[in-house]
């Protein structure tokens, strides 16, 4: 990678140049209908190259780095400059920063788990399910990713991470159960995940009808994380704030959530830590988004910082970018109750295992809709009474966060569309379910 970057810089000559180099190796074994249905390995690398000249950015991307391909790409890029006009919102490439070579989340064993290892894990759950009249579906995936951000001003940052994901869904009769784990190293307890998914499927075998309406809900970490992720994306993105598309635009400095709600974007040392610099190579800052219920900050890139007067927090996406700055390592401060205690404390409500196909209806209210999935249970007097059929929720995440009654004591790590997040279980009152379905 270093040599390729050098080759690219050599061709840039007097033009300022930035390279974001991605290298990924990923394997995924998929289980469907009690067998391995797909099994893949992908090996990819490519470079996003940004050239700057006369107040203009031009980008190209390529995965071929021979002389001919590079020469053609540069020739086309430099030709393109003459058709383009100076940008109003232009920022020159950053100058040298502290060099970072981040490997905290790299684990050699995890990077190299073999097809045979994954097949063995698959065989174990599939064999059990086949004997018990159940059906297993899921994935075991592992891999490594490396990103280098370098520019001709001397910036050179590198991050290398591994990931392991085990996600299991079990079908038993008409019922489903699911459990999953995501980690940067090989510390996943497969048996525990299998047992949780199996237990939920067994309880869910014959789900009862339930009427839509408002319920107290105990959200396990996965559905709680769906709310958290939407709140983070629609609320604390720099550009949404500037353009007044976010509820934070009018709520900065105000206390709108309960005292025990604290959200932080923390790539440095938090539970959802990861790449500790942004896509321009600037070190990320730990940003308190909500502190004890008070809206405190947004995340910024250089453009957002200039427009708002907030500090540049190191949250730039690859530039130029029409999406602005996004929080990519959000964690929610844990409470002090276990999930079991949260269920015990619930007089009447629903325990939700997963949300499915969530989407935003009204960005400013962060009003969301989606379905429950893989285990929805009625709680009465602190005990799970029975499984119920799935429901559609239509609910503002802001209002849901205002109505949080209890935060769980164990945040789980999730890999998502925009980085990572860590979220504990939540008890929320008056959660709105708008309709039901047939299963």
């Amino acid at each position: 990678m270093e040599k390729t970057i050098e080759k690219i810089f050599n061709r840039a000559k007097n033009t300022a140049c930035e390279v974001i180099f991605f290298k990924n190796k990923n394997s995924l074994t998929r289980i469907g209908d009690n067998e391995i249905s797909q099994n893949v390995f992908t090996d990819s690398e490519y470079a996003d190259v940004r050239l700057q000249k006369d107040g203009i950015n031009f980008k190209f991307s390529l995965n071929k780095f021979d002389d001919e391909s590079l020469d053609t790409a540069f020739k086309n890029a430099l030709l393109s400059f003459k058709y383009m006009k100076k940008e109003n919102n232009f920022f020159p490439l950053l100058k040298t920063q502290v060099k970072i070579d981040y490997k905290r989340h790299y684990d050699e064993e995890t990077a190299n788990l073999s097809p045979a290892f994954r097949a063995e894990k698959a065989k174990k759950i599939v064999s059990y399910c086949a004997k018990k009249g159940m059906t297993a579906y899921g994935i075991i995936s592992n891999g490594s990713s490396e990103i280098i951000i370098a520019n001709t001003n001397g910036v050179y940052q590198r991050t290398t991470e591994t990931s392991l994901n085990y996600d299991m869904t079990i079908k038993y009769g008409l019922g489903y159960g699911a459990a999953s784990a995501y980690s940067n190293k090989s510390d996943i307890n497969y048996e525990e995940i299998n047992a949780r998914a199996i237990e939920k499927a067994q309880i869910s075998k014959n789900p009862s009808d339930i009427k839509p309406g408002k319920y107290t809900v105990v959200l396990e970490p996965q559905p709680a994380n769906e709310l958290l992720s939407f709140l983070g994306y629609y609320g604390f993105s720099g550009l949404a704030y500037v353009e007044k598309r976010s509820f934070v635009s009018e709520a900065m400095g105000k206390k709108i959530f309960p005292d025990f709600i604290t959200l932080t974007d923390n790539a440095i040392d938090g539970k959802a830590a990861g790449m500790p610099f942004d896509f321009e190579g600037w070190p990320k800052e730990k940003v308190e988004l909500i502190s004890e219920g008070v809206i405190k900050n947004i995340v910024t890139d250089r453009s957002i910082a200039k427009k708002t007067g907030f500090r540049y927090t190191g949250h730039s996406l690859p530039q130029p970018n029409s999406n602005g700055s996004i929080a990519m390592n959000i964690e929610m401060k844990e409470g002090n109750k276990s999930l079991e205690d949260m269920i015990k404390d619930c007089e009447k409500g629903l325990l939700i295992t997963q949300f499915h196909y969530t989407n935003c209806l009204k960005p400013k209210d962060v009003e969301m809709t989606g379905m429950t999935r893989n285990g929805t249970f009625l709680i009465e007097n602190g005990k799970i009474k029975k499984a119920v059929k799935n429901l559609r929720f239509t609910q503002s995440a802001i209002e849901a966060f205002k109505n949080i009654k209890c935060v769980g004591d164990k945040a789980e790590l999730f890999g998502g569309y925009f980085g990572k997040s860590a979220c504990p279980a939540l008890t929320i009152k008056d959660f709105n379910f708008s309709s039901g379905t047939e299963f």
Binding site: F60, E243, T369
Partner: protein, 478 residues
């Protein structure tokens, strides 16, 4: 390129693979966007690589490589083989593929003007002209316009002797205006959140009249801020354009992907209510509804000569006179519904992805009514046409879709715009409530460019052509 592919085939033959194929893909993507009078994105991307698929002892293996060297192709083939061997240890039954003759052929998307020959200057000029119109009113907080072009050159070779070369072209244009005040955010887009792309050349962009529609889009985005809230009620619904395309996509397209129906997507996207015992019997929709899948549809984003199983593209009914009549299939699963050959729906989104069953171009066939008759036949109803949010359950039954705006219909006439319309339903009930479809004069293609499926997630493209359709007694919510 076929000489290169043959190296992989030789290795797979030597290792006695049951079946194997190689796809080499050379792709160029150009993407330009303008946001609030600034260049938002501008890129010209090139990628080249290959994917090798192996079936060994009934188990699948797939590996991709990026270096076009003999060493890399050998290593990648061996990796795919190793994975297939591991897969074969956890199989209920050995996978067998439906017969397909070996093809040696060339196919390409028909087009008039190659978009890569149009200068960046002309493309940016168009985007900045649209931006100027959208940003002329300060209540527009976010104006975004984009153009995207993809040329995909692929070579397919299999152990069965196929050698197929194809050149596919994608062109697309889109913009949106987002208005906001203290209380809310509203949006109008053109031609719709998911549409604006087809399998054509630059002539599509010229034909779309993007600039000519910009003022209307801007004004509607602003008008929505003060428009009345959509009422919650049961009423008649006319769907058209981008929204009807999404309705077809989510509630018929995904529901009839055979891998999904058989449970192979259960852990991620879900399964389907449209199970195989219902084929040929189940009343999916009212008898006027005909939904036709067509891999040969001119302009379709899923139109090609052959799929990534090496099967020639076909045309067939998914719903015929209201009855469930077919599925989207590949060579692996088609025998599970008694078919001897696949309906050619196996597609991968890049050289680094394994082909999976994807929604084909799937269109609602035109009906007998004029558009005016559709609207005229409603006492109390609403017209919806531009999607804003979408969600559907894991068996594709309970759906809820939100649109950018709605137009109330009273006594057969459009009575004014409302904001935040959402409608909800259960798939078969909804399609069985369809009592009128407009005729061929308003039948049009709508592209979907962002269909996600599979693990690892792949993004696929397809089209859903339709003319406006009327549905009775639908639940409309706020």
């Amino acid at each position: 390129m076929f000489d290169f592919a043959k190296k992989a085939i030789e290795i797979l033959d030597f290792k006695k693979a049951q079946f194997g194929d190689v796809r080499i893909i050379d792709e160029r993507t150009q993407f330009l966007s303008v946001k609030n009078s600034n260049i938002g994105d501008i890129s010209d991307d090139m990628s080249l690589g290959f994917g090798i698929r192996v079936l060994y002892n009934g188990g699948w293996g797939f590996a991709s490589g990026k270096d076009m060297t003999i060493k890399c192709v050998k290593e990648t083939a061996m990796k795919a083989f190793e994975i297939a061997r591991a897969s074969s240890q956890v199989k209920k039954e050995k996978t067998k593929l439906a017969y397909e003759p070996a093809h040696k052929d060339f196919w390409q998307t028909p087009y008039l003007k190659d978009p890569f020959t149009v200068s960046l200057e002309d493309k940016l000029k168009l985007l900045f002209a649209i931006d100027k119109v959208l940003t002329a009113d300060k209540r527009i907080k976010n104006a975004y316009s984009r153009l995207k072009f993809i040329k995909t050159h692929k070579w397919y070779a299999s152990t069965e002797g196929s050698e197929i070369e194809q050149v596919l072209l994608y062109s697309g244009g889109y913009y949106r205006a987002v208005s906001a005040n203290l209380n809310e955010v509203q949006q109008r887009s053109f031609p719709g959140e998911h549409s604006g792309a087809l399998g054509m050349g630059w002539e599509l962009i010229e034909d779309m009249k993007m600039l000519e529609n910009a003022q209307k889009v801007r004004d509607e985005a602003i008008a929505l801020l003060s428009a009345p809230q959509c009422p919650s009620d049961e009423m008649d619904l006319v769907l058209e354009g981008d929204q009807l395309a999404l309705q077809i996509h989510e509630s018929v397209g995904h529901a009839t992907e055979l891998d999904r129906v058989l449970g192979y997507e259960e852990s991620y996207a879900g399964s389907s209510f449209a199970t195989t015992e219902k084929l040929g019997k189940f009343k999916y929709a009212s008898k006027i509804v005909n939904l036709v899948a067509d891999g040969t549809l001119p302009g379709g984003l899923a139109t090609q000569g052959y799929d990534d199983d090496g099967v020639r593209s076909k045309r067939w009914h998914i719903v015929k006179n209201g009855i469930l009549s077919g599925y989207a299939t590949n060579r692996e699963f088609c025998s599970r519904i008694g078919m001897n050959e696949s309906w050619s729906c196996n597609r991968a989104d890049s050289f680094a992805s394994i082909p999976i069953v994807r929604i084909p171009n799937l269109s609602l066939m035109p009906g007998q009514h004029s558009y005016e008759e559709l609207i005229g036949g409603i006492k109390k109803g609403i017209l919806l046409n531009s999607n804003k949010s979408w969600s559907i359950d894991q068996k594709r039954l309970n759906f809820q879709f939100g649109c950018e705006s709605g137009w109330l219909i009273k006594n057969g006439k459009i009575a004014g715009m409302v904001k935040n319309p959402v409608y909800q339903g259960i798939t078969p009930e909804f399609w069985n409530s369809c009592d009128a479809i407009a005729d061929h004069r308003s039948w049009k293609l709508y592209g979907v460019s962002n269909c996600g499926k599979g693990q690892p997630t792949q993004i696929s493209r397809m089209c859903h052509a339709s003319s406006p359709a009327r549905f009775r007694k639908v639940k409309i919510c706020k």
